[in-house]
């Protein structure tokens, strides 16, 4: 190895990434961020200091060996880099695109203390895309162990859990209620941010691991979790059904025609391809002046979808300021570039309708920031007498989601007071052999956090089934609080399983 890199010797500027021109890209759904070319990735790899105790790995919810794969990129061993990443993350092309790296790996990168942090996400994506183009997959030798594992929901949590369980030798079946696998990656995240072929390629990798996908299957209603365990022969089940159920605005006029949830807008547009109506049958009646309420990633996706579908004006209305906005910085930046008009510190009071029950406008109130609330962000407080009306013919609300009730309605799983599935630290739910993770446990979060939860659950599931985990010496002290589940020693739980089998 050459001499040690220091903050002074590395390239000072972050390697830029090519993006589609805003004027052009608003006319189509092509991916905005063109990604690094190979040479860009090699350049950027030079900026990594290869810290001996890398903070980035700890910052990553799935603990990818980041310096490890960057070193491989520097050595131009791209296949090697792919293998390093996919040892822990089977879906680099997806994570490289949708992770909020600025709050994770890149947020703790020491280079970022003086310069711009190393562009870890862009390099990851570059390797992921290269793998898709080259048809690489990192399929280890798998010895079937005879255990049958069911995964409910084919979103990021389910996919991550499925990958780990399949690698461990289990016979894995993933159930999806929609007609296509992918969950929120398919119905929620639009093509210009995460193209469908990328998702399908990553799903293809899971299929190569032996994972079976069963679409059009609504678990809970077609068969219950209890039936999976008791009748269908599943030794363990993972629930990753997501939060789903959109939160209503709760203001007068929120059931007018033209008011819809971001989930509905995005599902119609992305999964059902309403953007290609009438070649696809699902319609989407777009307004000319669209107001999107909320400023998370979903809200950004909604604004940018509306722009591309041809709305004349798209407003983003958020009750806090830009500093508190939960969306990835890049998404807000892209939305601004594309002409979305932001109204920070503004909250809707009423949606106004016309005689035909259609939206004609919205009454809003200005807000100011008060004392910090539970989330640590400053609480928005209405400014008295600041109400105003503006013209809009479509209101999209993206103000969060609640727990989907189907699992609670159809099983005896213990739920918490908000309706999410109650689990212990190892993500075991209240029925032996059932694990849960992702939004259905934590409430709405990110794709990578869901994947992280899927992997944590997979580790617990392996311990429960008595499968030796290569990541983890059997029953090591690393288990800590997870050594006992619901007060039962893990080994006894194994014993319980043997009795059932």
């Amino acid at each position: 190895m050459a001499k040690k890199k220091t903050i002074r010797t590395i390239p000072q500027e972050r390697t830029p990434v090519q993006e589609l021109d805003p004027v052009e890209r608003v006319k189509n759904f092509a991916e905005v961020n063109c990604g690094y070319r190979i040479e860009d990735a090699v350049n950027e790899a030079e900026r990594c200091l290869l810290c001996p105790d890398p903070a980035c790995v700890k910052g990553c919810p799935v603990s990818i060996d980041i310096p490890g794969f960057i070193m491989k990129i520097s050595a131009k061993d791209f296949r090697g880099a792919y293998d390093v990443i996919t040892d822990t993350n089977l879906l680099p092309a997806i994570c490289g695109r949708v992770c909020p790296q600025e709050n994770q790996c890149e947020g703790v990168c020491p280079v970022g203390e003086t310069l711009e942090p190393v562009a870890i996400g862009r390099m990851e994506r570059c390797i992921g895309d290269l793998a898709i183009a080259e048809g690489w997959s990192n399929i280890p030798y798998i010895e079937p162990n005879g255990f049958k594992v069911g995964i409910v929901g084919s979103g990021p949590a389910g996919m991550a859990c499925a990958a780990d369980m399949a690698k461990a030798g289990c016979d894995v079946t993933v159930y999806e209620a929609f007609h296509q696998a992918g969950g929120v990656l398919k119905y929620g995240i639009p093509d210009f941010r995460l193209p469908n072929p990328v998702i399908d390629a990553e799903i293809g990798n899971l299929t190569k691991l032996g994972v079976k996908f069963e679409c059009n299957t609504l678990v809970g209603r077609l068969f219950t979790i209890e039936q999976m365990i008791n009748e269908m022969g599943f030794h363990a089940v993972f629930i990753g059904t997501g939060a789903g159920y959109p939160t209503m605005m709760g203001v007068p006029g929120d059931s007018l025609n033209g008011v819809l949830s971001a989930n509905e807008l995005l599902t119609r547009c992305n999964l059902m391809r309403a953007k290609e109506f009438p070649n696809f049958d699902t319609p989407l009646q777009l307004g000319n002046r669209v107001a999107v309420i909320g400023a998370g990633n979903t809200a950004m996706d909604a604004t940018r979808v509306c722009i591309r579908l041809g709305a004349e004006k798209v407003y983003c209305v958020y009750r806090r300021s830009k500093t508190e906005c939960p969306a990835r910085a890049e998404e807000v930046h892209h939305a601004e570039q594309e002409g979305v008009e932001f109204h920070w510190l503004t909250a809707p009071v009423e949606v106004l309708g016309d005689a035909n029950n259609n939206v004609r406008g919205m009454r809003c109130i200005r807000m100011e920031l008060g004392e910090p609330d539970d989330s640590g962000r400053r609480r928005p407080v209405p400014v008295a007498g600041s109400e105003f009306e503006f013209e809009t013919d479509m209101v999209v609300f993206a103000i969060g989601t609640n727990a989907n009730p189907i699992m609670g309605q159809t099983s005896k799983l213990k739920l918490n007071k908000w309706g999410y599935i109650d689990t212990d630290a190892s993500l075991a739910a209240s029925i032996a052999g059932v694990f849960a993770g992702g939004d259905i446990v934590t409430g709405a979060a990110t794709v990578i956090e869901a994947m992280g939860a899927g992997r944590t659950a997979a580790r617990s599931m392996k311990a429960y089934l008595g499968i030796r985990d290569t990541d983890l010496p059997y029953l090591s002290e690393g288990w800590g609080s997870a050594g006992k589940l619901f007060g039962i020693d893990l080994r006894e739980r194994n014993f319980a399983r043997i009795r059932i089998a």
Binding site: A177, F178, H179, Y187, E214, C215, N216, T217, L218, R221, L222, F223, E231, M232, G242, G244, Y245, P246, M248, D254, S255, N257, G258, L260, S261, N263, E264, T267, R268, M272, R273, F277, P278, N279, F280, D281, T282, P283, L284, Q285, N357, N404, P405, I406, Q409
Partner: protein, 323 residues
Amino acid sequence: MPLEKEGNRFEILKREDFSDVTYLLEVHHPMMAKAARPGQFVIVMEHEHGERIPLTIADYDRDKGTITLVVQAVGKTTREMQQNCREGTHLYAVVGPMGIPSHIGQANKVVCVGGGLGVAPIYPQARAYKESGAYVIGVVGFRNKDLMFWEDKFRACCDELIVCTDDGSAGIKGLVTEGIKQAIAKHSDIDEVVAIGPPVMMRGCAETTRPHKIKTLVSLNPIMVDGTGMCGGCRVKIGDQIKFACVDGPDFDGHRVDFDDLMARLKRYTPTEKTALKRWEDGCRMKTPISPALISSLTAAQLSQLDPSELDQLDPYEETKGG
């Protein structure tokens, strides 16, 4: 319990036409036949480019492993299905059973009301009540005698059956609300009324029973996309609460449903529905249909050269009148 291979799924085993707009499809889905209960629905996609439409499960046969759907050809999708769905063809997607099953309680005397297309989905409820030991009064309404179906099935599970037609061509002349009034006049001890049909009819039923304070359940049919509680498109106002018909329903207390809101929301996509239907109809007309007279004059060899899709044009039910 493995699901079947992709290509063999959702096969249509039987089709029956009740009228030129109403048809029945029996779909092969053994798991669903086993899981389905009265009041539940499925979401169907006819083909890969199709839309997801909710259809109430009108019946299920656990031995044959089938579920029965009764469809009215009103829009583009349902007309296209009317044209394409034959015995032996497959639906692209069928998912369910969705929604909370109807609560078949301990009611002693129940009126089960079905209007138009609601006649099919009220049938499993009537049967379930009968099986639970209740005295079941069926009230079914049609525009005229020609549109009637399943009278025999209802007679088999109802203790009394009141047929209502708009023109009086069968049963009593009048709307189903007339039938309910008759039933209430005759029986003072009705515990429950269950009504399924168009929103305006269900509102009529709820208003008929309201003065008598009879518990009235209605099954709501708003526009849905996923049917799993994810999009909120099917939200309805029940009293002062917002509920999602797909996961919180579809059955609700008829006296608390805001029907004006429901009916206004059902019109959301009327313009695009019209566009889709017109485009589809124009597309159908573009191909020159071959008359049956011509077919009979052709030799077998000539016939074999015809494009099978052209033969489809001979569908006697193609000329739909809409609903």
